[in-house]
Subunit: 154 residues, 4 copies
């Protein structure tokens, strides 16, 4: 593709960014919806949400999804607002699951902070995860669950 060609398809580079972000978010939301449709116990659901999020981050074409918007003033208020809304919606869907886990003592922290931490831990993986090295996405998901889910010995 050549320098002037994008402008046949997008009004501007920022319009392209917006499109990519939106499509990426919507695809992550769709993937997450699949997980939530199947009713499973909370821990299994959390593991599957984590796995689904890692796929959205590390496998799909939109790995930078959660990082890009933060260091860019490229989007206008309207666009930024819509992207934020999609992200809010995405993150909100985790709350009932976290809530249930907290109520059974498996998750022990302020839930909003816990959600922030879990997302941060996962999002940061784009900086160190290397598909060609040892760990698989399943390994990551298992480790994440093991890290934050407390099994009361009984």
């Amino acid at each position: 593709m050549h320098s002037g060609s994008i402008f046949c398809h997008f009004k501007s580079k920022d319009a392209l960014l917006y499109e990519v972000l939106q499509i990426g978010m919507r695809s992550a939301l769709a993937r997450q919806r699949m997980v939530l449709l199947e009713k499973r116990d909370a821990e299994t659901t959390l593991r599957r949400l984590i796995r689904s999020h890692l796929e959205s981050l590390l496998e799909s074409n939109s790995g930078l999804l959660w990082e890009v918007p933060y260091d860019s003033r490229a989007l206008n208020a309207r666009q930024r607002h819509l992207i934020e809304e999609l992200k809010c919606h995405y993150e909100a869907a985790w709350m009932p699951v976290l809530h249930e886990l907290a109520s059974t003592g498996c998750l022990r922290a302020d839930l909003t902070l816990a959600r922030h931490f879990i997302f941060g831990a996962l999002n940061w993986s784009v900086d160190w995860f290397d598909a060609k090295e040892g760990a698989s996405l399943d390994d990551l998901a298992d480790a994440m669950v093991a890290l934050v889910i407390h099994k009361t010995s009984r």
Copy 2:
């Protein structure tokens, strides 16, 4: 300050970035060293390492410390290498603490992955933490410890 003024003090903008990164990393390392000098039990030490890291990220002048280098080709190989070395050194210092916690069953995950997740969770906080809102750095540190430290019921 005016356009040409930085160049009285730094050879280039990149030289400034390097200086900021280095000073920030060294100050974070110094803060961490203070924590590790006092011998406490592993959980307390972890809590204090977390608290110290949050201070380096969110209170000091160098909030972008862990983010900047990744999306920048500004540093040459030698500079990048030194920064990486400092970061490695910094992260390595957590391992004995995590190891001890794992050995007593308080931490349950592959240790390297656990370290990545914990750092990610903390580093990501620069994107959502707002000092003027409810939670303090202590709240964050407590929540992080509660999230990952497993108390076995005795």
Copy 3:
């Protein structure tokens, strides 16, 4: 032409300088080669070399050819070396002609110094020659030959 336009065609201003120097040198060399292909007596050849050099200096687009490189650190070692090589090659081609003239007593001076002086005399003309004034390039060439070629009275 506007500020950024050169950079469509050249990587940098220095790359442009290098291109200009190289093309100018190669064109001067080509012009000189034409002269040397025709076998004439040494004096005629010298006159034609002089005339050809004056054309390269004063008529073509590359009048600064022999001046620019000296007061400029714009070229890197490799580029400077190639330009020097072309210049060496160019100047070396005069030596057999000067040598023959010396052997018949028409040229009386250390040959290397003579070559330096002749080139200097010609190169310096870019500082004073004015095409709109009296003298033509032929006048210059004739005067230069008359100045340095000694006719022994027979």
Copy 4:
């Protein structure tokens, strides 16, 4: 000396350049005056003028004397005019000598062109002369005289 210190002594960098040029020109003129005071035959005088010019170019502190003004628009009209006047004066002093040599058949070329060529040949020497190598200023002066002075065999 430090960046701001020149401005204690000169109004501007250009004022310094002007001062240097003027002092250099006046010193070259003084040196030349010494030569012309002693009455000798024309050839000897020419040789001594040449030698004196080479000293002004290559030995004194003002080697760039004849080159600098040409690639600089640093001087204002008034200053440029005075420097040109000094240079004119300097060059004009050679004409009687050249004229006498021409009248005896020792110099064979249009005199104005001859003067331009001789000055060019000498001025260009700053680009190739190396005091540490073989030739001395005397060698240069001898070679220059030998090159342009025609000895009629008789």
